[in-house]
């Protein structure tokens, strides 16, 4: 029995406080994933809290034979993010990227400008492509796990990532080297 399975078992047996260990372990990736999907750093923690509460409520239905806890948790976070985007009608363009501060050194200004371009390209992706890229590139999840979370085949995940990277590459046109 893994340490995580032991924690889940303890929670299910009535040791509610043990759930804190799971929250502490996954709070950062879940908040980060939501922030990058919904493109709003102000509400991402509220949404993440809702995710953890939903996880606690649904914990009796978690089946370790079907998926790992992290896959199950990320799937709930993914679904919640989709609902938030739909409900609040957050536009795909999201928050405007921060404008470069012209008092900074030239290198930093160029870097900021390129980051702004990448941010815009990321925001212009379709929700599916964006989610897939976030899970693969920012969360470093394996394709198999992403496919489980998204409920699609690995081939679809690879294709989404290729397309998303192509869009990001286009945003950096004119700069040497490849992504």
């Amino acid at each position: 029995m893994t340490e995580e399975t032991g924690i889940i078992k303890a929670v299910l047996e009535g040791d509610t406080e043990s759930f804190r260990l799971l929250v502490q372990r996954y709070q950062k990736p879940v908040v980060r994933m939501i922030a990058n999907i919904i493109n709003d750093r102000h509400i991402c923690e509220d949404v993440a809290q809702e995710v953890f509460l939903a996880v606690y409520k649904k914990l009796p239905s978690f089946d370790p034979a079907r998926s790992s806890f992290s896959t199950w948790l990320f799937t709930i976070a993914r679904n919640k993010s989709i609902n938030v985007v739909k409900k609040r009608r957050i536009p795909s363009t999201g928050n405007p990227p921060e404008e470069p501060d012209f008092s900074e050194p030239v290198d930093t200004l160029i870097r900021d400008e390129l980051f702004t371009k990448l941010d815009r390209a990321l925001k212009s992706l379709s929700p599916g492509h964006r989610r897939t890229l976030v899970l693969a590139e920012f969360e470093n999840l394996p394709y198999e796990q992403i496919a489980q979370i998204e409920g699609v085949r690995i081939g679809t995940i690879k294709s989404r990532i290729n397309r998303a990277k192509h869009r990001l590459r286009s945003a950096l046109d004119g700069i040497d080297g490849g992504i």
């Binding site: 509610t16 406080e17 759930f19 804190r20 929250v23 502490q24 709070q27 950062k28 908040v31 980060r32 922030a35 990058n36 750093r41 923690e45 993440a48 809290q49 953890f52 509460l53 606690y56 409520k57 649904k58 239905s61 290198d107 160029i110 870097r111 390129l114 980051f115 990448l118 590139e137 920012f138 990001l168 590459r169 950096l172 700069i175 040497d176 080297g177 490849g178 992504i179």
Partner: protein
């Protein structure tokens, strides 16, 4: 700065995020509040909706009941229309 270097440093920046120090406390507060409401003897409407939404069988039952009600109503309506048609015709 090359393309892949820009991308890598952007990726690193996206990977960094600060979570409030009391985040876990906030979650646990909500968890305990929910546990409290669950233990309360009154079965509130919210709890009933939650129970239905978290149990696939309950959801299926509810949808089936709705479908049966709809079909019964449809049959009654058709019967009424046909009987009116017979009376009038």
């Amino acid at each position: 700065m090359k393309n892949h270097e820009v991308y890598e440093s952007w990726r690193q920046e996206k990977h960094q995020i600060d979570v409030s120090q009391n985040f876990a406390d906030q979650v646990m507060k909500q968890v305990y509040q929910w546990e409290q409401s669950r233990k309360s003897p009154q079965l509130k409407m919210e709890r009933l909706i939650e129970l239905i939404s978290f149990h696939p069988l309950a959801k299926t039952g509810l949808v089936a009941a709705g479908a049966v009600t709809g079909i019964v109503r449809l049959i009654i309506m058709i019967q009424a229309i046909l009987s009116n048609g017979v009376v009038n015709g």
